[in-house]
Point group: C2
Chain length 392, copies 2
Amino acid sequence: MVAKAHGTAVLVGQLEVGGRAAGLEHPVMLSGRPTTVQCVPDTPPPARQAVGIDVVAVGSAIVDVLAETEDQVLGRLGLVKGTMALVDSASADRLYRAMGPAVEASGGSAANTVAGVASLGGSAAFIGRVRDDQLGAVFAHDLRAAGVRFTTPAATSGPATARCLIFVTPDGERTMNTHLGAAACLEPEDIDAGLIADSRLVYLEGYLWDPPQAKQALRRTVALARETGAEVALTLSDPFCVERHREEFLELIDSGVGVLFANAVELTSLFQVGGLDQALGLVSSRCSVAAVTRGPAGSVVVAGDQVLAVDAHPVERVVDTTGAGDLYAAGFLLGLARGVALERCAQLGGLAAAEVIGHLGARPLVPLEALAAEAGLLEPTAGGRRAAGRGP
Amino acid sequence: MVAKAHGTAVLVGQLEVGGRAAGLEHPVMLSGRPTTVQCVPDTPPPARQAVGIDVVAVGSAIVDVLAETEDQVLGRLGLVKGTMALVDSASADRLYRAMGPAVEASGGSAANTVAGVASLGGSAAFIGRVRDDQLGAVFAHDLRAAGVRFTTPAATSGPATARCLIFVTPDGERTMNTHLGAAACLEPEDIDAGLIADSRLVYLEGYLWDPPQAKQALRRTVALARETGAEVALTLSDPFCVERHREEFLELIDSGVGVLFANAVELTSLFQVGGLDQALGLVSSRCSVAAVTRGPAGSVVVAGDQVLAVDAHPVERVVDTTGAGDLYAAGFLLGLARGVALERCAQLGGLAAAEVIGHLGARPLVPLEALAAEAGLLEPTAGGRRAAGRGP
């Protein structure tokens, strides 16, 4: 039931992202006939003032520690390749001691996504908690230097800024071990209602569902978004994360998530079904749009009864897949904020993901806006919003 | 007067690195006639026990903060391209705010050198001061993970671990701004006499001459090396560093430095002469060996009345010259410790430098020992000393 789309003429689905005032309209063309699909029929967005921020993300504020590692080391350390595990301070220290020489680079799934949105020329903000320590300063610097607004105050006591120990194997696959530290201390009070009100899209990181008070912060975010008419997007983050929180994720989605990001394993796990087609059928009744990544096979977008397969962007060499899903979400969300067709949203996601897997680290090294313009996927912003700098 | 050497048959100079017990002999071949040159005639090394460490370095313990930067940004920030400037905490903060998204990687000139020695299969140790903070932990981890012994206790009070803000321009040139922090707090008491006694070569970083108590630590190192018969090597580090300390550097050299590393600008500045040939003539009467780097033109080695030019190792693309001199010293020192001919020492230096300028960051990403073996420059160590891991 997955229809393969070629070329640029196929426009499917519609997403109302509170865009009336912002001039966002998604014309829908089904079989050549213009029509309209109301994607969030039971929650019509209130008339909104013009909003200034394309995407605000709520997520874990994490500094990545990346080291290239041989496969056999993973086995010796008891790590499951390709997954993310939460580890306590003692385990993090043990794994760090076993790790080779590393580099540090700011990370965090949703933070990577908004860095990508900014690099694509969008306006972006981030809500997440660091400690007032050296790695916290590194995280804040890198995000702001990428052009993302970040004003959540650093914790002045409690655990240190979160670290993610990332073992990158020669095939480019990454195995992550996260010590959440201060990131787990995000509180409902940290969710800046003004920021939510000023944003088109609110993006939630599933990983944050693990720490109880951060979960409350996510719930408050959804409530605020409903009040102000911002569209809510959620990433399921990780198959193990879905295992841990399946029922609550389904409740969260039903409470007002319009856009869902997942990979095939996460989506089939969410619905406890064996096949992707079955999962796609189930997700379409719960979200306006679901964007499902399939690695080298590209992505599938579901909106109403439309299912659209989009090819992956070509990649010369996969160096490190860290951040692939995060950057796919960045491109997709920026596309939604700009009101482009869903196919192009998925292509923008693919382009952003392709850049980030071509080098070590989870954030773009070149301005994605220029890449997207070259590829004919995006009109450059007039006057030029600040895009992410040429990070190393 | 620089003679160009081709092929592998030209062996010049001899260096006694306290190697009698360790079996180090440098056969010297002048015009096809074997001979012997006593390089440190006024300080014959005492008979020594077999030593366990090839190179111990005394230097600044620094974490690099690297960001790619356009040339015009340097001008706007008032930075002199290609140099190292010492900056106070306020200037470091100002420059960091102006910097794009960055990555952190352990650095420090002499620390990079011993990381390179370990990567070449040598045994290496480092003496330098960090603070007990997050970046201090990163520095210690990366050095130990590279196989370098590092036991200097972290400071429990005082300034934070040193940072070097490195702006890398598109031509691969780097402009460095160092806030010395805890690295400046190295004291004479930190110089582990046992470590010096157990080492063939002691390598001193000229940068450390700036902080007064660290200077005393270097002087104590030279005194200990004289007592135990270890050979002392010094790098002049930077032209501005030479400007600041010209007279004291000359005194230090005369007090017992056998091996001098410099680039052409530093060496001519040291002797306040206009041309490299003149400087080479002057250095030969003060040191057993001087190795002078000339960027893409390779290096010149002076030993007694011998002057030997060695080509640079080919490089596909220069990405970031940070660490080029440090790694040249690594290869050269490892060669000296192994007792290979000076030409090969310079070739090993060139090979190590070529690897490190091909990527961002100042430490090798692949085991240099394997590269050197492939290039026919080094026999791999039997049984395998621990080489640096595959860092990212």
